[in-house]
């Protein structure tokens, strides 16, 4: 390229740069132009509201819901969606540079506490009267999930239905002439048969009894002993107990170790960080799975495993009954996704008013209908008093994204029924799983306690015990190291004090 050519290219791109930045520069600042003069002073100008959502998938262009809400509420919406990994960084940089969106959502209690302590969150307390419709929708006793240091810094969403349960190959049970296990002994027998008695009849010992994600799959087994994964606080016989110190923990470990010793469990279970267990199960290598229904009961998934093996039939199983009862998993009572505003919106009363109006609207019967199903006769019809999706596939597809606008949650079971009429049995079953109530989210880590190090140590040693790499006789040594080297004693003390103060033990 000669000199002239280079210069022309440079010049052209420089001019283009000028032109583009000139027209986008204005947009960049529009987020925080919320001074009372610009938004409140002129009634004809709609208030601009920016919202940041955690989503696995982006919204389609010109999504109807944005127009609909803008029109009904007289606002201008700017919706941004990010993956969970990026979401935290976006909130932090936004708050640090005074350009956070007007509404954002926090699903991690630890982060919520930190932000509340740093004084960057909007305090809802003076506005709770105005928020009454929202409070009615999410439930008064839910509100505690959005409180830190006694103040309401967030509006919790309604709880989602629990999705996990035990799933097993019915055709394998039939082939081996086994009944669904009801207690721990039968549970082990069934896993043993899946592993050793060639349930797929291919003459090879290439099947395993049980799999799932490492942080979920053992839930039902701990649960049968009335406990759960190490490090959780629950109330047992009127006393606050940490699962690590529950005598049932050792029994549970001994039982689970038996399953590992007999080689009944997917040897790579700890490597199931994504959906590897689903693939293995669908390929016919796993007989029982702790899994969430959308990944196994939706039509597309059923078709997937039926293509691999037309005889395959996955069914949900009841939990095995053990000496401590039946629990599928734990339910952290303090954990919720909460909607929060940055403190800076306080300066703009007109905006605060609109934000509250928006939350109230999506919690109202009319608004919640809109954000659950879309528009009547476009996305859904009412037949015999029940809401059913229209037959037009494109419209149903479009309505698939409405969940992103359920800022305060939804009436979960009604919602699922209308969206997934064919899976009703599956999600009802999963939602009825008994969960052990735990209180960990109410505990604020004490200064100097490194939760990440401690949880790594707990996890690692847990699997050492289960894989027989460390004898269970050393369990007390393990607790000792945890308390001293990893500062767990300080954490326990802080937790007990905080939970007692909260009045959990009464």
């Amino acid at each position: 390229m000669n000199k002239k050519g280079i210069m022309t290219t440079m010049l052209a791109s420089a001019m283009l740069a000028g032109a583009l930045s000139a027209c986008s520069g204005g947009n960049a600042n529009s987020n925080n132009q919320g001074t009372p003069e610009t938004s409140g002073g002129n009634a004809a100008e709609p208030v601009e509201i920016s919202i940041m959502l955690q989503a696995a998938e982006p919204l389609p262009d010109n999504y109807f819901m944005i127009d609909e809400l803008e029109e009904r509420l007289g606002v201008k919406l700017d919706i941004q969606t990010y993956l969970p990994d990026d979401y935290t960084s976006k909130i932090n940089t936004g708050l640090a540079s005074d350009s956070a969106t007007d509404i954002f959502f926090l699903s991690d209690r630890n982060m919520f506490n930190k932000l509340a302590k740093q004084g960057v969150l909007f305090d809802f307390d003076p506005y709770m009267d105005q928020l009454q419709p929202t409070v009615d929708f999410v439930g008064e006793d839910n509100l505690v999930k959005g409180q830190a240091a006694g103040k309401q810094y967030g509006i919790p969403q309604t709880a989602r239905a629990y999705q996990y349960s035990l799933w097993a190959r019915q055709d394998w049970l039939d082939a081996l002439e086994l009944a669904a296990p009801t207690d721990l002994e039968q549970f082990q027998e069934v896993l043993g048969a899946f592993r050793n008695d060639d349930p797929d009849g291919n003459g090879k010992k290439d099947t395993y009894g049980y799999s799932g994600r490492p942080n979920e799959a053992l839930g039902p087994l701990f649960g049968a002993f009335g406990t759960t994964y190490p490090g959780y606080f629950y109330v047992k016989d009127g006393a606050l107990v940490n699962s690590l110190y529950d005598p049932a923990m050792k029994d549970a470990l001994a039982y689970i170790k038996g399953l590992f010793d007999a080689d009944l469990i997917d040897p790579e279970m700890l490597g199931n960080t994504k959906l590897q267990h689903k693939d293995k199960a669908f390929q016919g290598q796993i007989g029982m799975l702790y899994f969430n229904w959308p990944n196994i009961a939706r039509e597309d998934k059923i078709q997937e495993y039926k293509t691999v093996n037309p005889d395959a039939e996955w069914v949900q199983l009841d939990l095995p009954q053990g000496p401590g009862g039946q629990y599928a998993y734990y339910d952290d009572l303090g954990a919720a996704t909460v909607a929060a505003f940055p403190k800076s919106v306080e300066k703009d009363p007109a905006k605060v008013e609109k934000l509250i109006e928006l939350l109230n609207y999506v919690s109202s019967p009319e608004g919640s209908q809109l954000v659950m199903y879309g528009l009547e006769d476009v996305h859904y019809e009412i037949k015999d008093g029940e809401i059913v999706p229209v037959s037009d596939e494109a419209a149903v597809q479009e309505a698939a994204f409405t969940y992103l606008f359920q800022f305060t949650g939804r009436d979960e079971m009604v919602y699922l029924k209308s969206k997934f009429p064919n899976q009703e049995a599956a999600y009802t079953f999963a939602n009825e799983m008994p969960l052990l109530p735990v209180y960990n989210s109410f505990v604020d880590n004490p200064e100097g306690y490194n939760a990440a190090d401690a949880s790594r140590y707990m996890e690692e040693e847990l699997y050492k015990f289960l894989y027989g790499k460390r004898s269970l006789d050393e369990y007390d040594d393990f607790l000792n190291t945890l308390e001293t080297t990893f500062g767990y004693k300080a954490y326990m003390d802080a937790a007990e004090q905080q939970l007692t103060e909260l009045g959990i033990l009464e």
């Binding site: 935290t88 004084g119 490492p214 040897p267 790579e268 700890l270 590897q276 690692e460």
Partner: protein
């Protein structure tokens, strides 16, 4: 312009004798070069140097509202360095980071060079070019995708390799969940992914070697191996040294993305590195100060390694400056 420029070399050496009088003159003679440097230097100042005040977060209790300057100092000022060093895993993290980086450097340096030599020596140039195009493809696949492929090959229960091992009556090998194998898989897949991509820069360097040298070599009846040894390798030595030094600067990085995608609880003892630890700790505690402190620690070590290796390289006539 041409006359003063040719006298530069002499001018600079004699400048040592009388720096006060000569230096301004030397600068003035080079004014056009400074003009060329101006836009770039300006960019570095604005986008790289200006934000560097952020490193003081390492010594502060950073608060989002107060910002970097108004936030209070940590007590003691080295609080977050202390937290890092006092982690029960500190020794293991350091050892893992060091070993993984060291293996990647040790085993990863030569393959792209050898590959570049093979490409440039291959008589069938179309074939060589075809192979080269294929070779750099894995570079474009993200670790998420590569991990999917590795799982398909190496999974203990369903992987292709283990199915073959099974056919021949062997016991399945837990490549991805065993502490014995994990580092080898990490280093191996890293080298494999970038062998072709890494060779590009060496090929460019080989392209810059004066062809008359090869002609002279051929006349002297030198074998191809001799020519590689005496002409090609010395011709790309500068680039090799440069890349080596720059890689040492990032010695404590060890490849976060790859490890984050591939590791699991079972292999933490051999795979947990400084960056993955910071990620886990920072994620739970929203701890910018810790991240900054550890970053400073890594950078300081990188700086020592770069300065040291550069000084060493200068002795052999290479080096960055």
């Amino acid at each position: 312009m041409s006359m003063p420029a040719t006298s530069d070399a002499r001018g600079v050496t004699s400048a040592r004798a009388a720096p006060r009088r000569r230096l301004p003159g030397a600068i003035w003679r080079h004014r056009v070069f400074y003009l060329m440097l101006l836009p770039g230097v300006l960019w570095f100042v604005v986008y790289k140097y200006f934000p560097m005040y952020g490193v003081i977060i390492a010594f502060k209790e950073y608060n989002l509202v107060d910002g970097v300057f108004a936030s209070g100092w940590a007590d003691p000022w080295y609080k977050y360095f202390k937290q890092f060093v006092e982690s029960p895993y500190f020794g293991q993290l350091l050892a893992n980071t060091f070993l993984i980086s060291f293996y990647k450097l040790l085993f990863g340096m030569a393959p792209p060079i050898v590959f570049a030599l093979l490409i440039s020596e291959c008589r069938y140039s179309r074939y060589a070019r075809f192979i080269q195009t294929l070779s750099y493809m894995p570079h474009f696949l993200s670790w998420v995708v590569i991990f999917g492929i590795l799982t398909a090959f190496l999974s203990q229960s369903s992987g292709l390799v283990n199915r073959y091992i099974g056919e021949f009556g062997g016991d399945p090998v837990p490549f991805l969940t065993s502490t014995d194998w994990f580092r080898s898989i990490l280093v191996g897949s890293d080298i494999w992914k970038d062998i072709g991509w890494g060779s590009i820069i060496y090929l460019a360097a080989i392209a810059g070697i004066d062809p008359t040298l090869y002609e002279a070599g051929r006349v002297d009846g030198a074998s191809r191996l001799r020519m590689i040894w005496h002409i090609t390798l010395p011709g790309i030595r500068n680039v090799i040294v440069l890349l080596m030094i720059l890689q040492l600067g990032h010695f404590l990085d060890a490849g976060f993305e790859q490890i984050y995608v591939m590791y699991n609880v079972q292999v933490y003892p051999v795979a947990d590195i400084i960056d993955t630890w910071v990620y886990r700790v920072g994620l739970q505690d929203l701890n910018f100060s810790l991240g900054s402190a550890v970053g400073l620690f890594k950078s300081a070590i990188g700086l020592v390694l770069v300065l040291g290796s550069n000084a060493l390289a200068r002795r052999w006539g290479g080096g960055i400056w």
